[in-house]
């Protein structure tokens, strides 16, 4: 019998590594489970995360980038940490090759509230590599079985430079589709960049998605979130209809270790997805 | 002549009020009321209205120099110091963590301070045993003279006489008790590194769990980091919830440094800390 001990990771193997950006510090990893029963147990929805576990290094909580509509693997987009805090796990993962094996613990946390999003128009706003769980959400919604459950889908995605956009092939594919409006922007373009230039909040203001029956799902670096939230508020989105995902240092991922405690919530087990209305209830301690 | 704690308290209040009212300093570090008589607390007066909260009694053990590094550089501060505490201030000035001209040092010559936990008088056994501050701007009481003066290192004789194995057994027993709450380093006026070496994970210097290997690494390295810097205030040992006599090791290292380099920590702001200094005439004898 397999252990149901929540602290024990499941073994997975790297089946594909994609170098996402031109600075080579963000890679996507596809994992397949080594045990079929683990795969059956790993039932997740977009917005959840998992602990990537490398023995000898530690664990690192990362949002799931794949969608449950993509069977056979689970994917994560991981940035090599280390600019300020040495990231042991992410560095070790980045040094691994296809065929390498690590541990996976999850799925953890609450997903984007899919039922709440149904029948509504969805505005997905992402910045930089925080787009991972949004990529999962968009892929989920665009799946042929799911597309009819949602209204209009608008994606606004920005990065600092064209080279720093993740999932370039998929973005290109989305741009060609008629059932999703895709707006890509970069802070500063280059010679070959023919798309938009401008910061995400400004672009949101410019695009001005209608708040009618709409939910904004926002994920990005803190400064982007800080300036984007008011834009949507001004556009008329209610606080309940603005969703975001909180970042906080985590260890156990199951609401036991106390580290991600903010007010009466544990970000890991009560979040990481919160609406703006819920966030305003919490002390500003994150 | 007996020390009057009451008079010291009054004088501290007077000086604190004067300094705050004149705007000469923006805060005064002193002691204030705790939850009972026996437990006065470090206290910060930021305005004349806070001054009444200042107390001074026989249980004011804390070394307030510890708080100097908490405030932004350039903050004008007054700090109340007993003898050992003043050495910590001197040492911090030597290490350029605070500027002399930002400080008003309120020196308190005193004896008979007691450890609230044990009720014992704190003397040369667990501290440097000095009575008078080595550096001050304002003297809060008359200098203490005529009290017995003992070597702060006398207490070491018993441990130095032990053979290697007995001494190792002694330290193993003491250090194994450590629960790694880090009260010692947090109470220490000279422990200001952020992050502390033991909290680093790359390189990882020692284990985080409170077991022999990590405990030994943490404490030996900490003793080393304080070599020639420890001013022997004894705060680490008083802070320790499991009563590890850290002061013994610090005293030993201080004694060796004094003998080898001819300089005690925190005695003059002209000095340089001994381990960031050298003399051409240093001898290889110290390595023997």
């Amino acid at each position: 019998m397999r252990s149901t001990n929540p602290y024990i990771p499941m073994p997975v193997e790297i089946v594909k590594i994609t170098d996402e950006v031109d600075t080579h510090d963000i890679k996507s990893f596809r994992f397949k489970f080594l045990n079929a029963q683990d795969e059956a147990r790993f039932q997740y929805l977009p917005g959840q995360f998992a602990e990537l576990s490398i023995y000898g290094k530690g664990e690192s909580p990362i949002g799931i980038a794949s969608s449950p509509t993509e069977p056979g693997y689970v994917a994560f987009t991981v940035q090599r940490a280390g600019a300020i805090v040495p990231g042991l796990v992410t560095a070790a993962l980045h040094d691994m090759e296809e065929g390498g094996r690590i541990g996976l613990r999850g799925p953890l946390g609450h997903p984007w509230p899919i039922e709440f999003l149904e029948k509504k128009n969805i505005v997905v706003v992402g910045g930089g590599f925080a787009f991972t769980t949004l990529r999962s959400l968009v892929t989920y919604m665009l799946h042929e079985n799911n597309r009819s459950r949602f209204g209009d889908i608008t994606v606004i995605y920005g990065a600092r430079t064209p080279g720093l956009l993740c999932y370039k092939d998929e973005l290109a594919a989305w741009e060609k589709r008629s059932d999703i409006k895709t707006i890509i922007t970069v802070d500063k373009g280059n010679e070959t960049w023919k798309g938009r230039e401008g910061f995400v909040p400004a672009v949101c203001k410019d695009v001005a998605p209608s708040p009618a029956n709409a939910v904004a799902v926002i994920c990005g670096p803190p400064v982007m979130i800080k300036f984007t939230l008011p834009v949507f508020f001004e556009l008329g989105f209610s606080k309940e209809n603005i969703l975001t995902s909180l970042e906080m240092r985590m260890k156990c991922g199951i609401g036991k270790c106390g580290r991600c405690n903010v007010g009466y919530k544990y970000v890991c087990s009560d979040g990481p997805v919160f609406s703006l209305a819920e966030l305003e209830e919490l002390p500003r301690d994150f | 002549m007996a020390v009057s704690f009451q008079q010291i308290e009054e004088k501290l209040k007077t000086e604190a009020r004067r300094l705050l009212e004149s705007g000469q300093v923006s805060l005064v570090l002193a002691w204030g009321r705790g939850f009972d008589e026996k437990h006065p607390m470090p206290y910060v007066a930021k305005g004349a209205s806070d001054v009444d909260g200042i107390v001074f009694n026989e249980f004011c053990t804390h070394n307030l120099a510890r708080y100097l590094v908490r405030y932004p550089r350039g903050t004008k501060m007054a700090v109340a110091v007993k003898a050992a505490d003043s050495r910590a201030v001197v040492q911090l000035i030597q290490e350029d963590k605070v500027k002399r001209h930002d400080l008003v040092i309120l020196g308190i010559p005193v004896y008979g301070i007691k450890n609230p936990k044990t009720g014992e008088i704190i003397d040369g056994k667990t501290t440097c045993g000095l009575y008078n501050p080595v550096l001050y701007d304002i003297l809060i009481a008359e200098e203490v003279h005529g009290q017995p003066v003992s070597s702060p290192y006398a207490v070491l004789a018993e441990y130095e006489a032990m053979d290697q194995d007995a001494r190792f057994a002694f330290w193993k027993k003491e250090l194994d008790r450590c629960i790694r709450c880090y009260a010692c380093r947090k109470a220490c006026p000279m422990c200001y590194c952020d992050p502390c070496f033991i909290d680093q994970n790359k390189p990882k210097w020692g284990e985080k769990s409170p077991e022999t290997p990590g405990n030994l690494m943490y404490h030996l390295t900490r003793f080393h980091h304080l070599a020639g810097r420890c001013i022997d205030c004894g705060e680490c040992s008083r802070a320790c919830p499991v009563d590890i006599p850290l002061y013994l090791f610090h005293k030993k290292v201080a004694k060796e440094c004094e003998e080898m380099f001819g300089q005690a920590a925190g005695m003059s702001i002209e000095d340089k800390p001994v381990l960031v200094n050298f003399r051409m005439e240093d001898s290889d004898k110290i390595l023997e």
Partner: protein
């Protein structure tokens, strides 16, 4: 069931208990008393007021291994350390500490994910509580009365002990306790007078005065929420705080831990180690962002967590007033004084 034994025959009782399972009891050590696993029945010493570190370490040890592995070996060879459920007898626990287990149960095994290590040990344990001496005054640091805990509350214990002169009266409180007590030979039967003494002590324990009286959980929860942005208040409260971890390590209801990997000579363990919200790097994220860089923010988190967030999440204050944090604080910070100040602010 009511039994008694003479104090000087305590080692007979403890050696009988050792035959029933692992015995953990107070032991006199260099720095004071602590709960330890007993190897010699004579080690047990009931002449203590309370232990330095709380007995939470019996169920939630400071270091707990989850996985043992070898580096460079296939992942599947890693060995899971399964939670142990061997019979355990925890002897001589003070009522406030008994209460702390109930509070920890809510967090570890009754809400959300179940912590298998805590649960297994807890289920396998028989608790033998021990009343404070209600004839002597409380120590100045204690305030369990404030939180509605009596000095001789038998609730939560399986067996509860009261000292009467040179005798120790033992009463079974639960079925589990009764079964254990019935299985111990050599105990004397207690008289009706002893029974009355026991009940009187419990009653006296309810009226026993520690510092402070009565704190309303709802009121303090709200108050601390309102005070969150009052930086002046928190800076004042934390002026002396060194941000070491004594208070949290000694606390019976602090449960924060770190999960870390320690590897030596190719052998490694994934383990949890107690951590403290007072440490600077507690909330340091991989991005370098740290929401609590200042001492006042960390002290606010600690007090807020115990007296406000925990109440809102789990319905109870996460404090039992044992006074350990105050007793061991190197600078004499007293959590209850801060709570009192907060109520007044």
């Amino acid at each position: 069931m009511l039994k008694k034994t003479a104090i000087h025959q305590l080692s007979d009782l403890t050696s009988a208990l050792m035959g029933k399972g692992t015995l953990v009891a107070p032991v006199r050590e260099d720095a004071g008393f602590n709960f330890r696993e007993i190897s010699d029945a004579k080690q047990v010493d009931l002449n203590f007021h309370n232990t330095i570190i709380s007995p939470k370490s019996v169920f939630f040890p400071q270091t707990e291994d989850f996985i043992r592995y070898r580096t460079g070996r296939p992942l599947q060879e890693a060995e899971t350390v399964e939670p142990e459920g061997k019979p355990l007898i925890l002897f001589g626990v003070r009522p406030c500490d008994v209460k702390s287990f109930e509070i920890m149960d809510i967090h570890f095994s009754c809400t959300g994910a179940v912590d298998p290590y805590w649960q297994a040990r807890r289920e396998a344990a028989t608790l033998i509580g021990y009343a404070f001496d209600v004839a002597a005054p409380a120590e100045p640091e204690e305030f369990y009365q404030t939180l509605g805990i009596g000095a001789a509350d038998p609730e939560g214990s399986d067996i509860f002990m009261v000292r009467r002169g040179d005798d120790l009266i033992l009463k079974s409180i639960t079925g589990k306790g009764e079964a254990l007590l019935a299985g111990i030979e050599g105990l004397a039967g207690a008289s009706a007078d002893d029974g009355k003494f026991f009940d009187d002590t419990v009653a006296a324990g309810r009226n026993f005065k520690t510092r402070f009286t009565c704190v309303d959980a709802k009121a303090i929860t709200k108050k601390l929420e309102d005070l969150f942005h009052n930086t002046d208040f928190w800076e004042k409260a934390s002026n002396a705080c060194l941000s070491c971890g004594v208070c949290t390590f000694a606390c019976p209801t602090c449960y924060c831990f770190d999960i870390c990997d320690e590897t030596l000579f190719g052998r490694g363990t994934r383990r949890r180690v107690w951590d403290a919200c007072m440490f600077t790097d507690f909330t340091l994220e991989a991005s370098g962002h740290n929401p609590r860089t200042k001492v006042y923010q960390r002290l606010r988190q600690k007090i807020g967590h115990k007296y406000s967030y925990h109440v809102r999440k789990y319905g109870v204050i996460s404090c039992v007033g044992c006074g350990r944090c105050t007793r061991h604080c190197p600078v004499g910070i007293d959590i209850f004084s801060i709570v009192e100040e907060a109520m007044k602010a």
